[in-house]
Symmetry: C2
Subunit: 434 residues, 2 copies
């Protein structure tokens, strides 16, 4: 299958190109900068062209992933050139205008699927991620897209472009925009953020993190989202009036009105108890990790970098509020606490098994003839550092004393320490190692 | 030590009373409603009086924990009656006015400690909680308070009442107030919250949870905090102007100004990467829990209620977005997902050991005389459901064949299944159970 990703050299477009290449699609990228584009395409082992029309006219699936402000003109440029029977997708954060434009400019026989993946290019898998699909007419491609996304365990939400844009005017036009205003106010008031965090409950710290998260996004993208969603101006106006009203209740010392407004807003949000629970859990998870690390100084830990996925294995030397110091092989590594996740015991074992060199060993032991080789093999497998164990051979007679048998196990270990543990186990139960 | 908690019948005051009672203090509560007050005091096994002055004049430590709007008048009422050498503490969310009032009305020889515990009465321990102390003159009590709080692993922040109130004008006057305005706007726009959550990324869901968390607080307390902190009006005004400016940049399509404002606010927040990491982790912890539960259907799980601490142990029957259904003993229990934490394997084992009835068993086994009783006892201890194991006796001769010995282990199990596993282990290695 040939897929053209228009604007596929960077950001989410590039993430999609990589994802579809892994799934076995043949990818053509386009992008405005042909030096950058060719370089990226070479590294990925895919095709690049600066000619959007050429890419689109040769593909079975065309994905528009250009910045939001260029979406309309790009659709107008490429849509008329799609092959009959092909699929046209856009991944813009607003849906009404792109949906209309694709429907209008794509020739009959081309299936149109306006899409909004609700995530950025930082994610490592689609599992649990929300993808909004706003098909106006479903064709033969639609079930295929659904199947692919379901296999990846994405959460699919089907709706209309209008309903999407109305909801986004709340998510992005209200929440995100208010966050940007909070950050900008903090700046204007000249507040020292580090200092304010000290004064703060864990919940305020998480709030600030969320504010920081939003303002850290691409401001051009945010500007475009705010300007291209036609429901947003009303939301902004309503928020402004609401804030003004609340502020007046405070300055006029109108307690009754303030209490009424706050209680009524709380009631509308409903199921507050669940919100309290989830936010408590989020905070308690952050605290639990720090506590666990504090208790692991001097011990072996596995730390996974949250974005690259790289695992660092070593002895935890020390822990400060922002960093962990790890002795990894012969060097000292300093890792930012906020960027790493601690592997659980099981994750660590499974990582070691897959990544460290294994030693394959045999051991033969003489035990009473009533002993059960498979059971002993299971006990060997449960020893720390032992990755696998199998019964290779059971032998009677010859040099083996009466009432006894010799069992040979083949097992794999991560280090020779584990070999010693296996031998201790066998001799501990009275076995004689041959 | 006699402690009077003025306003100790409810909320944080009552939490403090319970906490200090556990530490061995003799507590007297006061509160406006004497029927409620006597009832609570009876249940706690402490004293109650409706007479603040009487309570304060007989105590070594007096803690003012009345609602913020009554703090000043209560201080004026009780402070003059404190004993020489006693300690006067308030726990109000603003600090300048209470600090001034206490200093002015307490007789010489009374130590004053204006305090702001940055948590509510929902917490189960002080560990990791922030407590702001704003002493103006430290006396003999101060090191004792510090020592107590450090033992509880609270995070102590010492500052001035003014600096405290300035920072709180950001934490509560800006962040919390903007959240209330967001919630109120959502209500005015008539947005269906459940519907909007479907459209939303996990981060938006956590944002909504934080908004819900704030509006779920006591509106009278919030009103008082907003009106009693003198730095807040300026913060409100700055936010209003900032939001208005940003809104105009969008409606005037002034991209440059918007991008400049957002980038500059982001830069001021600094260390955005850490914020991204921490908020990603918070979300990933919430997701990981759900994934773990999904994989545990049909299996035994231990679920701890987040606020009561009660542990439910049973077979996980099913899982919906909001609830888990657990088969606990012979009844079916429906628990709200947001209110429970999943116990880890280790936590579960340790809970079972402490809470389920244990069976103490003996087993005698004949094994080769080279076998090592202590090592075998360790292997027995590692069997699922076995809580302890010790070597009771080692015996040669008599009915024991040559070259063999009989070892008796005493071990404790949670269920008879584990007894079978112990026997399987011993016979599996060729032992003969006597």
């Amino acid at each position: 299958m040939h897929v053209a990703v228009i604007g596929g050299t960077r950001g989410l477009g590039n993430w999609i190109a990589n994802f579809l290449q892994e799934k076995g699609c043949q990818i053509t990228l386009t992008g405005r900068n042909s030096i950058v584009g060719e370089d990226i395409a070479n590294k990925m082992g895919v095709l690049y062209t600066s000619d959007n029309i050429q890419a689109a006219s040769h593909a079975n699936v065309v994905i528009i992933a250009v910045p939001i402000e260029f979406t309309s003109q790009t659709i107008k440029e490429v849509a008329p050139h799609l092959q009959e029977g092909s699929l046209l997708v856009d991944v813009t954060s607003v849906k009404e205008l792109p949906a209309e434009t694709m429907q209008k400019y794509a020739p009959p026989g081309v299936e149109v699927l306006p899409t909004h993946p609700m995530f950025g290019p930082r994610i490592r898998s689609l599992e649990g991620q929300v993808i909004v699909l706003t098909p106006q007419k479903k064709g033969k491609w639609y079930p295929k897209v659904l199947e692919l996304l379901k296999l990846e365990r994405a959460r699919i939400l089907e709706t209309t472009p209008e309903q999407h844009d109305r909801m986004m005017s709340i998510v992005q036009g209200l929440t995100h925009f208010a966050y940007i205003a909070i950050a900008s106010t903090i700046e204007k008031m000249g507040v020292d953020i580090k200092e304010s965090r000290k004064f703060a409950s864990p919940i305020y710290n998480l709030m600030l993190d969320m504010v920081a998260r939003i303002v850290a996004q691409n401001p051009y993208l945010y500007y475009s989202i705010q300007t291209q969603n036609k429901y947003i101006p009303e939301v902004h106006q309503t928020f402004l009036e609401t804030f003004q009203d609340l502020k007046s209740m405070i300055s006029d010392e109108n307690q009754d009105e303030f209490v009424k407004a706050m209680s009524s807003a709380a009631k509308h949000l409903n199921d507050l108890e669940a919100s309290l629970g989830r936010s408590d859990k989020a905070i308690s998870a952050l605290n639990a990790e720090v506590t666990h690390l504090k208790n692991s100084v001097g011990m072996e830990v596995g730390l996974r970098h949250m974005y690259s996925g790289k695992v660092h294995l070593g002895i935890l030397e020390s822990l400060s509020p922002d960093f962990v110091i790890l002795k990894e092989n012969n060097r000292t590594v300093k890792l930012k606490l906020s960027n790493i996740e601690v592997l659980s015991g099981e994750e660590l074992k499974s990582w070691k098994t897959g990544n460290l060199p294994l030693k394959k060993l045999d051991v033969s032991v003489v035990l009473p003839e009533t002993s059960q080789p498979e059971l002993i093999s299971r006990v060997i497998r449960s020893i720390e550092g032992v990755v696998s164990s199998e019964v290779k051979d059971v032998y009677y007679g010859g040099q083996i004393p009466e009432g006894k048998k010799s069992i040979t196990f083949t097992y794999q270990v991560l280090s020779l320490e584990s070999m010693e543990r296996v031998q201790e186990l066998l001799t501990g139960f009275g076995g004689i190692i041959r």
